[in-house]
């Protein structure tokens, strides 16, 4: 047994005595009512082994039948060259890159995308590793994009398999410039990311104007039609297009390192 030390033990005892636990609800009546309503009883003593064996046999039998069904279907599919009426079965080595077909550039390993100095892309600590990284263009026109594939049941950006893209572009963004190209039906809301000014743009699909490092203006064309968070840091403009909603997207941006 580890000795916590006299002071540690005293402090932990005081913490236990003073812990503000929520009041314990009285569960007895509800539990009894549910048991009574369900008409359930624990299995009779002495029969549990038999009952379990019977349940195991039923489960095993179901699995065998399911396996036979799969074998039969596979056999039919094989005979038809994996073509069933209304259904084509294809085996692929792996899924295509998340966001492929969206003109985001050339899919590259994440390390290569992160090695780009300008623009420098940051990883959001709040998210898992991106599904795919892309590089588009060269020099001052280079765009680095990270894409996260939407999991089953998660919201996706319209017309894609993605829940979020993070685009890094050399440049900065200023409200007067930003708003010039936003049409009716598009709302722009000032927010903060890491204490710095950012904008949440929602509504209809939009391109946007951004200021390049050399002072010229560039049109940043929307690839998707999702709501967008825009902010700049250290000479890089970040554009997060997201199906996650405003607050979650800001949390993602706040976590970028």
């Amino acid at each position: 047994m580890t000795d916590p030390g006299p002071r540690t033990e005293a402090l932990l005892a005081a913490a236990r005595a003073g812990a503000a636990w929520p009041a314990t609800p009285d569960l007895r009546a509800d539990v009894i009512a549910r048991i009574a309503a369900g008409g359930v009883e624990p299995a009779p003593l002495g029969h549990s082994g038999t009952a379990r064996r019977a349940r195991s046999w039923r489960v095993a039998r179901s699995l065998v039948l399911a396996l036979l069904a799969v074998v039969a279907i596979t056999g039919v599919a094989g005979a038809l060259g994996f073509q069933l009426p209304g259904l084509e079965i294809r085996f692929v080595e792996q899924l295509p890159p998340a966001g492929s077909g969206l003109s985001l550039g050339t899919a590259v390993p994440l390390a290569e995308a992160r090695a780009v100095e300008v623009p420098r892309v940051l990883l959001p600590a709040a998210l898992p590793q991106p599904s795919t990284a892309y590089i588009l263009g060269t020099g001052g026109d280079r765009v680095v994009t990270l894409a996260w594939r939407a999991a089953a049941g998660e919201p996706a950006l319209a017309g894609s398999d993605l829940s979020l893209t993070l685009m890094a572009v050399p440049g900065k963004v200023e409200a007067p410039v930003l708003q010039k190209i936003l049409g009716p039906g598009t709302a722009i809301e000032p927010v903060t990311v890491h204490g710095d000014r950012a904008w949440w743009i929602s509504g209809t699909p939009h391109d946007m104007l951004i200021a390049r490092p050399d002072g010229s203006i560039r049109v940043l064309t929307a690839v998707l039609a999702g709501n967008t968070l825009v902010f700049a840091r250290d000479g890089t403009l970040y554009r997060i297009e997201s199906a996650l909603g405003r607050d979650a997207t800001i949390a993602v941006a706040d976590s970028m390192r």
Partner: protein, 198 residues
């Protein structure tokens, strides 16, 4: 940590379990009353919400009743019950994460990492007098913090802690050992420095 239950209490509990196994609902109700506080608090620590914890504890009690035939007579009831309730709470937590998916990861996972002080077990320690323990616990890795919480704030035994958290007993012991060592390093007067007395 307090002493364990007396022999009389264990014998009484064993009698209640036997009656409940025979279908005596009132006896099972008595078991619920005896253990609902520990069950609810374990679920609170795992789920962080009193409402969710109440649902999980209630479901855990119902599941435990349905599984009473698998409970081995002569064993202490509470560790077994806390394993069932802990499983239920962890399943609910996993379902919640799956349901919320990326959104939950984006909002809660990051914010919890950024602000460990919002961990449910630490919110129990309110006020300035608890601030030192709260800060020391917040500095522990989550696995160690949960074990120390179960052992010292919930007053669970090592076996009950392992069962409630769904981890092997050896893991619970090693996390307990490491967690206490870290706490001691923060809360005890610095080793080698004589304690100053007035």
């Amino acid at each position: 940590m307090g002493p364990g239950p007396s022999d009389d209490a264990l014998a009484h509990e064993a009698a209640l379990v036997r009656r409940a196994q025979a279908g005596d609902g009132a006896a099972y109700g008595d078991l619920v009353t005896m253990h609902q506080e520990a069950a609810f608090r374990v679920a609170c620590v795992l789920l962080g919400s009193a409402v969710d914890a109440e649902d999980a504890a209630q479901e855990g009690f119902v599941r435990a009743y349905l599984a009473l035939d698998r409970f081995r007579a002569g064993e202490p009831f509470r560790p077994w019950l806390l394993r069932v309730v802990g499983n239920e709470a962890r399943n609910r937590r996993r379902s919640r994460v799956r349901r919320d998916g990326l959104i939950a990861r984006a909002i809660s996972a990051f914010r919890v990492r950024r602000d460990v002080a919002s961990a449910p077990e630490l919110l129990l320690l309110a006020g300035e007098t608890q601030a030192e323990v709260r800060a020391a616990l917040a500095a522990l890795p989550e696995g160690e913090r949960l074990v120390v919480t179960c052992r010292y704030l919930l007053d669970l035994s090592e076996v009950e802690t392992a069962d409630a958290l769904g981890i092997p007993l050896g893991t619970a012991k090693s996390r307990h050992h490491r967690g206490l060592r870290r706490l001691r390093a923060q809360l005890e007067p610095a080793a080698g420095q004589p304690e100053v007395r007035a």
